[in-house]
């Protein structure tokens, strides 16, 4: 039995006097991150990611700790949902895994996957938040003077807190209590925007992940086998490219109902064509190279030739397109939400933006400006990163230097 990895060109023996080489992709990522634009983009995405993970601790109507009648309790922790817990556990697992240096990337990925699979059922079994949310409960208690001491979240309003006890705060412009103002229904805009980071982050990553996987499989098979499979695959790609993604998305969401997971799946299922084209081109270029012939001659299964030998050498264009893909997925989600096809109970930037053109043609500038700015900055950040990745990976530009 031949070891799969032994034939990969990356594993070729390195001469002792040669400088240590780094992979093309690793080098490109390093080059990218040295640019100011990509750095700024990454910082913003980290901010959004942080908000997504710690949303309940940043904006919550329930105090983190409260002292009533002489003993302390934590309503905030009691009201955490299973999703909150899973996100927190996964975040800390990723941080710990990133700090351990001895494991390979594949091992880390596997351990992360195992943690996710273990924690999900546990969280849904054991985390039982109260089914009824009375957001004004602690504000009322504070007014009655029953709270002796309390620690609140930085923004003491939950995303779905409609401020029923403070009707005078509805539709108020940015002020000291509500930093970015409030919505028509009374929700605090900043709090809703922080909670909406979750949708923005997850839709980008998951839908692009689906698109990349489909693109690699379809494009790889097309580029490697050519002939009839290639012709059929190209027709398939043409079909999907001839339907504007937004049209298909609208049709499917209108018929299947509003569901974040369906939305992610559809964005992934309709945007893979560009990735497939890239991968097909790379595979067409690489399929006749010596290391591929060697792998075939060694009797390796097709799966191994395709995905362990050719793919690592042809993956670089995909990194660029994935970065732009995340940006366009976020745009699709916000557009759908704007058109009234998004989620109803969960806040999303696009859905907030839609409310800015209120009843009777009034225009509420703070609801229009801030959520739109958040969408813009996130899309801009991914585009900046994609742009500098493309520059870093472009061999023609390296020649000029």
């Amino acid at each position: 039995m031949v070891d799969d990895m032994a034939l990969a060109p990356a594993d070729a023996p390195v001469q002792a006097d040669a400088p240590p080489t780094r992979g093309l992709v690793a080098q490109a990522i390093r080059d990218t991150l040295s640019g100011a634009g990509a750095k700024a983009g990454l910082v913003w995405i980290c901010v959004v990611g942080f908000c997504a993970v710690f949303a309940p601790f940043l904006a919550n109507s329930y105090p983190l700790a409260v002292k009533i009648g002489g003993h302390w309790s934590s309503p905030l922790l009691r009201h955490l949902t299973p999703v909150d817990v899973i996100l927190l556990v996964m975040f800390f697992a990723c941080v710990i895994l990133a700090l351990i240096r001895r494991l390979t990337f594949a091992r880390k990925l596997a351990i992360g996957g195992i943690v996710l699979v273990v924690i999900t059922p546990l969280a849904y079994l054991f985390v039982r938040p109260p089914s009824l949310d009375v957001f004004e409960e602690y504000r009322d208690l504070a007014k009655q003077g029953k709270i002796e001491a309390a620690i609140y979240a930085p923004i003491p309003y939950s995303a779905n807190d409609r401020m029923r006890d403070q009707p005078e705060d509805r539709l108020s412009p940015p002020n000291r209590r509500h930093l970015l103002g409030t919505e028509d229904t009374g929700g605090d805009l900043l709090s809703r925007m922080i909670h909406a980071c979750r949708i923005a982050m997850s839709i980008g990553f998951i839908s692009t992940g689906i698109a990349v996987v489909i693109g690699i499989v379809v494009g790889g098979v097309m580029g490697y086998f050519v002939g009839a499979i290639d012709l059929f695959g190209m027709r398939l790609i043409e079909i999907f490219e001839a339907i504007p993604t937004l049209f298909l998305l609208i049709a499917i969401v209108a018929f299947f109902g509003r569901n974040l997971y369906i939305m992610m799946a559809i964005i992934g299922l309709t945007t893979w064509t560009g990735d497939a084209r890239f991968i097909r081109g790379e595979f067409l270029r690489l399929r006749n190279q010596d290391f591929v012939h060697a792998a075939v001659a060694a009797g390796l299964p097709v799966r191994s030739v395709l995905f362990r030998h050719i793919l690592p050498n042809g993956i670089s264009p995909l990194i660029v397109s994935a970065s732009f893909g995340i940006a366009s997925a976020i745009l699709y989600e916000s557009t759908l939400s704007f058109l009234g096809l998004g989620l109803v109970d969960e806040p999303s930037w696009g859905q907030m933006l839609e409310q800015s053109l209120g009843v009777g043609g009034t225009f509420i500038w703070w609801i229009a400006f801030f959520p739109g700015l958040a969408i813009f900055l996130t899309v801009f950040a991914y585009n900046l990163i994609g742009e500098s990745l493309r520059d870093a990976l472009d061999p023609r530009l390296h020649g000029i230097e």
């Binding site: 490219e241 018929f255 299947f256 096809l341 899309v379």
Partner: protein
């Protein structure tokens, strides 16, 4: 070249078939399907009446037949060749032959789909045909300017602005434009609803002055209504194309033929505009195919924001109303337009670059 075009035209059929199958499958597999969801709309109906209505719809549109039969039935209706009633179409005596394609009748609006299309398609095409030349013209000028000053502050600044512009969501731009330039609270400069003023029917065509007062006329009124939608529709493509034009110019400037042209003593202007510029247009022509589909989906957003009754609005309304016939016809028309634009781009590509050959 002719063989290539014929081959491509023949490939239209399987592709259009595929598009409509995908869309039909989506609708058929959705919970509730098409027949049932139509009826839930008219709730509060007497059960007996409901049954009658259901039977009527089933008979009329074949909604109780197996799905493949339903699809084939629709396909037979829209195709110019198929079964028909004797006495119409080409071989008049036969039950099979050439006939007028029939896009069916909207299940919700109870009007022939072809009429709805005739009303809305020209509006969307008008928006696009104003946008495309405008976008190309400005993008080429900006791209050349950036390339001429490459590496300098003008180029870097323009590059960042274009990338930012490319990232601005159309929904945000539209909402801000309406809010700040079209609402009563701020500046009310532009009209924001529809393509014509309510009184535009009574206007003269050209602007003129009656009794010392300026009358803007139908043409100017329409143009006035078009400013914001066209801007909103085109700025994304503009940013994208400018960047493309810049990089294409730069790529060409580094090539050997430019050095040759310079070394034989041609002026910088001649080199730039007669040699580099012409060659740098090739990527812009290739990309023109994907511009039309992206402008069409841009139209969905722009028409929804600005209340224009074009294809985009027809699509959203049709999908929201679960209108099977309308959605299928939309898919057919949008898909067909996309395919035609891809073919046109390929032909333009050959004309622009003699090295390219498809035979």
């Amino acid at each position: 070249m002719t063989t290539y075009i014929i081959r491509r035209l023949l490939l239209f059929f399987p592709t259009l078939l595929g598009i409509t199958i995908v869309v039909f499958a989506v609708m058929a597999l959705s919970p509730g399907g098409v027949g049932a969801s139509l009826l839930t709309r008219e709730g509060g109906m007497d059960p007996r009446v409901r049954k009658e209505v259901e039977a009527y719809y089933n008979k009329r549109y074949g909604l109780d037949k197996p799905l493949p039969v339903q699809y084939l039935r629709w396909l037979n209706e829209v195709s110019p060749v198929g079964t028909k009633e004797a006495g119409t179409g080409f071989p008049q005596a036969w039950g099979f032959g050439f006939k007028m394609p029939d896009l069916g009748e909207s299940l919700v609006r109870h009007r022939p789909v072809i009429d709805l299309m005739k009303e809305s398609l020209p509006i969307t095409l008008l928006l696009n045909f104003i946008s495309i030349p405008l976008v190309y013209l400005i993008a080429i000028v900006t791209g050349i300017t950036a390339a001429k000053h490459r590496g300098k502050i003008a180029d870097v600044g323009l590059g960042s602005v274009l990338l930012a512009m490319w990232s601005v969501p159309q929904i945000w731009a539209g909402v801000l434009l309406i809010g700040f330039l079209g609402s009563n609270q701020y500046l009310k400069i532009f009209p924001v609803n529809g393509l014509h003023d309510v009184q535009s029917d009574g206007m003269t065509f050209l602007p003129h002055i009656i009794h010392g007062a300026f009358e803007r006329g139908w043409l100017l009124d329409s143009l006035w209504h078009l400013v914001l939608p066209v801007f909103c529709l085109s700025y994304v493509s503009f940013a994208f194309l400018s960047k493309l034009q810049r990089s294409s110019m730069l790529e060409n400037i580094g090539l050997d033929y430019v050095r040759t042209a310079r070394s034989k003593g041609l002026g910088e202007k001649t080199v730039l505009y007669q040699h580099v510029f012409r060659n740098s247009l090739i990527p812009l022509i290739t990309i023109s195919a994907s511009i039309l589909p992206s402008l069409l989906s841009g139209a969905v957003i722009v028409e929804s924001i600005f209340g224009i009754n074009g294809m985009g609005k027809l699509i959203v309304d049709g999908a929201l109303a679960h209108d099977r016939e309308l959605v299928l016809s939309d898919a057919l028309v949008i898909g067909g337009l996309g395919l035609i634009s891809y073919l046109l781009a390929d032909i333009c590509y050959v004309i622009a670059d003699p090295r390219v050959s498809y035979d």
